[in-house]
Every structure is written in structure tokens, then in C-alpha cells.
Amino acid sequence: MPYNIHFPALLIVLPLMAAPLCVIVRHSFFSWLIAVVVNICVVLFSVSLLLQVIDGDVIRYTLGGWAAPTGIEYYIDTLNAVLMVVISIISFFSLIYSKASIQAEIAPQRYYLFYTGWLLCLTGLLGIVITGDAFNVFVFLEISSLSMYMLIALGKERKQALLAAFRYLIMGSVGASFILLGIGFLYAATGTLNMSDLALHLVDADQSRTVIVGFSFITVGLLIKSAIFPVYSWLPNAYQYAPSAVTAFLAGTATKVSLYVFLRFFFHVFGSEYSFAEMLLGKILMPLAIVGFFAMSIVAIFQTDIRRLLAYSSIAQIGYMFAAVSMATEAGVAAGVIHIINHAFIKTALFIAVGCIAYRLGSSRIADMGNLIALMPWTASAFIIGGLSLIGVPLTAGFVSKWYLVTAAIDSGWWSIAIMVLLSSLMAIMYIGKIIEVFCFRKTTENMKGADVKEAPLFMLIPLWALIIISVYTGINGSIVVGTAELAASQLMGGML
């Protein structure tokens, strides 16, 4: 028996078991240590899984030994393997960053709860991604959501964080309920819950109104969860007020995972033919996505708080991903996946940088960040590199995604999309340019003069620069990401096994 056959199960169970362990240990340092060690294992497992499936194989791991439709199974292909790698790496770096950052943000006696919540959130996100069972998605979605609400609300003195968490809870619960309802309709139509099995059964049943309604509810639920344009309202507050490590973690993973579920359902379970040709999903999503990235980029320009600015930029970026995916071509999906991966790293790095700045400055208002390039050169320059990547400057990861996005749009004849994407980059230039200008050419403001502003601690800079290096490396040597994404897309479009 090969040693790595149980990696899929261990990937989920390790963080799941580490969470109660943290509660038992109830010690701030050791719970952090547990979390980090487990996270390293998770990174290794997920990388090993990715290496196993990179040749186009699919791993199916039956849980409880019951064969697929009867029991629950893990279904691992390139798409979710690569996402697991991304999630675990981002979690790892944010976790290292959190060690120093939570000192300013969370009461010491709650550290262990923080790490427990973190591990549960990680479990939830990985669980959503790895599973091959529709209902199981819902269960793990709730694990991740609940722990996210908690993590967001953990901020020490921020009462807005509580409200943000509550709003997220209401929106998230509506989304989750819709997904649950949608899965119910699919179950009514087919009698099965396994995704691959659903795909087989839906081929016969796809004209039925039950399936149409199930499809609609799942769509709406996932759209809420992934904060696409009209239903994004929970996101800016949540990102702004959550503890900075949490924001970094969520920005890189939460909405991406919803997007993954979206891909999984609409390409894999329903099949792109049904989702996009018959149900005209593309026709509905594309305008939303475009309005989303446009409007949100504009809104971002006018923000005075740097975290909020990045939050709106995140919504805009989600618009890009949806626009890419809505093309429903292999190139489009590949572009979407590339952007998911690249943006995850970039946004996490940016939020970590912002966290470092806020850690020293005690403020996240852009106006207070004058002359930061001299005060905190490493942090500020990391932020600038990340910002350039967001714009899509060559040699950064953002360029690769934009390149593929535009190529995919042109390929499928959506010239207008290509133009829109590029025009909205202009706005990215504006809001990033605004920040760069403050960093480099504005003088330190009066109310920041007294503060002892110096370079962020090394423990924060290491994860920051690691992520920046990753994103720059993927910008220079993009073929790793691109190759995997293209393989993932072709597997996804190729339908079920």
C-alpha cells in the first residue's frame, strides 16, 4: 500500500483534530505552535496530492469504505488540488503573521480560541474544496462560515467588527440556506447527492423544472457567498474590521472557495452545456461581473481607509473572475482559475502589508500614511509591488492573469469584455497610484508625528515578503500556474469521469 493513500483524509482530519487539541492545551503559544505544525503538514499533504493528480489523474477516496454514491467520497482533480495548495500556503503565512499581529488586536486570553477558530476555518475551507458530495459541501461551508464569523468578531475594541460579523452571518446564512435548498431540489430530481452521480442523473433530468429551480437557488446562494456585485454588502465591513491576520486569510481564501464551488457545480455537475447554453448563466453573470468590477473599482478610488479600499478592490477582482468563468470556454475557465490563484496570493500579501502598517501606525487611514517609504521601507515597497501586481504590470502575477483574461475574452469573441477589463485596470492604477503617492511623496501628518513608526517586526515581514516573492515568481515564471490552471480547466470542461 503506498504511503500516501490516506493523505486526503489526513488533510482534513489533522486540522480538525488539532482544533480541540488547542482548546485542551489552552495556551497561547502552544496553540499557535500546534496550528503552525499542523498547517505545515497540510501544506505538505496538499502539495503531495497536487503532485499525484498533476498528470490528469483523479483521486477518489471513499470515506467509511462505502463506495461513492452510497457513502461520501473525496474527489480530487487538478482544480481542487491546486486550490488546496493555495489555501494551505496562504493559511500558513497568515498564521505566522498572526503571531505578532494579534497582540495588538486580540485579548491575550482569547489567543487559543483564535487559533482554534482558525484551524476550524481551515478545515472548513479545505473540506469544501476536497469533497465530492454536494451535501457535504454545505456542512463544511457552515464550519468555515461559523468560524469566520467568530474570527471577524474577535477584534478587541472594534464594535463595528461585531456588526460586520452579524451582517455577514445573516447574508451567509441566507446564502447557505439557498444552497441547501438548491441541493434539496437536485436531490428531489435525482435521488443522489454525490456530485459525479448527480452529473450522470442530471443528463436525463435536466429539462425538469425542479432542476432549473435547484440550479437557480444554488447559483444565488453561491453568488452571495462569493460577494459578487449586487450582493457584496457584507464584504467591505468584514474585511475592514476583522483582525488583520483574519482579513489576510479570508481575502485570499473565502470568496475563492465559493467560486470554486461555483465552478464545480456548474461545469462539473450541471455541465457547461446546461449551465451556460441552456440556462444562459453567462448572460446573467457577465453583466453583473462587468458592472461589479467597474463600479467597485470606482468606489475603491474614493475610499479613505486602506483596508476598505482593498476590500472593494477584492470585489472588483471577483468580478474579473466571474467574467472569465462566464465565458464558459476552456480558456476562460483557465483564466478564471489563474486569477483565483494569483489574486489569492496578491491580496493576502497586500492585507498583510496593510496589517503591518496599521500595527505600527495604529491607523489604517490612507491620509496617515505619509512618507511611509522612508519609515517602513520594506513594508511599503512590498505593498507597492503587490499593488502593481493588482494593476497588472508585467513581471507580476497580475499581468499573467490579465493576459489570460484578455486572451480568453478575445478568443471567445467577447471583445467588449477585454476592453472593459482593461479600462477598469485604469481605475486600479488610480487607487493604487493614490496610495503610492501618499507613501512616497506625502509628508508625515501631524497626528502621526508623535507615533513611533518604524519597520514592522521581522515575524511579520517574513510572511509578507514570502507571499510577494511567490507572486512575483509566478509572474516571471507563470508556466507553473498557467499549466495547472489549463489542466484544471480542461478536466472541468471535459465533464465527469
Binding site: 483524509a9 480541540p20 487539541l21 485542551i24
Partner: protein, 155 residues
């Protein structure tokens, strides 16, 4: 005043004391009879917790805390989850897939039986501990014990 209040609730207190073991018994019945009738770990956990909730309601949460301390809750809720996941890991170590109970005993059916039993127990422990701690969290945090509280006016 305190004395008076105590007198006023004597009936409920006595009934509660009388009910407590019966409810506990019922909880164990539901836990271990769940294979044969309705019920299972989750329901049993809630019933088990309801004993302490009832106790807390009648005798004051402070006193329930003396019986079941927050630390016990914290540890037992973790242990329940660990028990469940641990069963899975044990079955994994014994050569099955994760949560494949068939390998737990000599033959598959009794292995399943054992597995289900242990797993339900884990669920029961966690749920009971969680429910009690929810009750603790949501009750009487505003007023310290032993400090006379104002009875809220009826509007």
C-alpha cells in the same frame, strides 16, 4: 429576603431534584438505545445537557458551575470531537479507510456496531458539553452571584 425566595421555590426545587436522575437515565437510554429506537448521540447529548440547564435554572447557574466547571466542559467538548475523529484515525491505522469501522473488530458487522457506538458517544459528549456551555454563556453573566439583583419591572 433570600430565605423567603428559597421558600418560594421549594416545590420546583424538589421536583427538579427528583427529576434529575430520571432525565439522566433517559439521556443514557437515548444514547445507547439509539441503534434500536429513535435517538442517538446528538439527542442524548441535548437531554443530558438539559439536566444541567434545569439545575441551573432552578438552583442558579453559579451552583451548577460547581458541579460542571467550565474547564470540564471545555475539555469534554474537545474530547468528544477527538473521540469521533480518533475513531476514524484508528480505523485508518488498522488498514481501512477513514471512518471505515469494519476493521475495528474481527468481523465487519460488529466492527460497524462498535464504530457507531463509539462515534455516537463522541457526538453525545461534545453536544452535551457544548449545550451546557452555551447555557452558561447565555445565562447570568450580567449579575454576579450573591449580589442581590433588581427584579425587572413588568411593563
Amino acid at each position: 429576603m433570600n430565605k423567603q425566595l428559597e421558600q418560594r421555590h421549594r416545590v420546583v426545587q424538589v421536583i427538579t431534584k427528583f427529576l434529575t436522575p430520571m432525565i439522566l437515565l433517559f439521556a443514557f437510554y437515548v444514547q445507547f438505545h439509539g441503534d434500536f429506537g429513535p435517538g442517538g448521540g446528538f439527542q442524548a447529548g441535548v437531554i443530558f445537557a438539559s439536566v444541567f440547564i434545569l439545575h441551573g435554572l432552578i438552583f442558579g447557574e453559579g451552583r451548577t458551575r460547581l458541579v460542571v466547571t467550565p474547564n470540564i466542559l471545555r475539555i469534554s467538548m474537545s474530547l468528544g470531537l477527538l473521540l469521533y475523529a480518533g475513531t476514524g484515525v484508528v480505523s485508518l491505522l488498522l488498514g481501512g479507510n477513514f471512518l471505515d469501522y469494519s476493521v475495528l473488530a474481527s468481523d465487519a458487522v460488529s466492527g460497524q456496531h462498535w464504530g457507531i457506538f463509539v462515534v455516537e458517544l463522541g457526538v453525545g459528549i461534545t453536544v452535551a458539553a457544548v449545550m451546557i456551555s452555551l447555557f452558561y454563556c447565555f445565562s447570568s453573566n450580567r449579575f454576579l452571584d450573591r449580589i442581590p439583583f433588581k427584579i425587572q419591572e413588568e411593563e
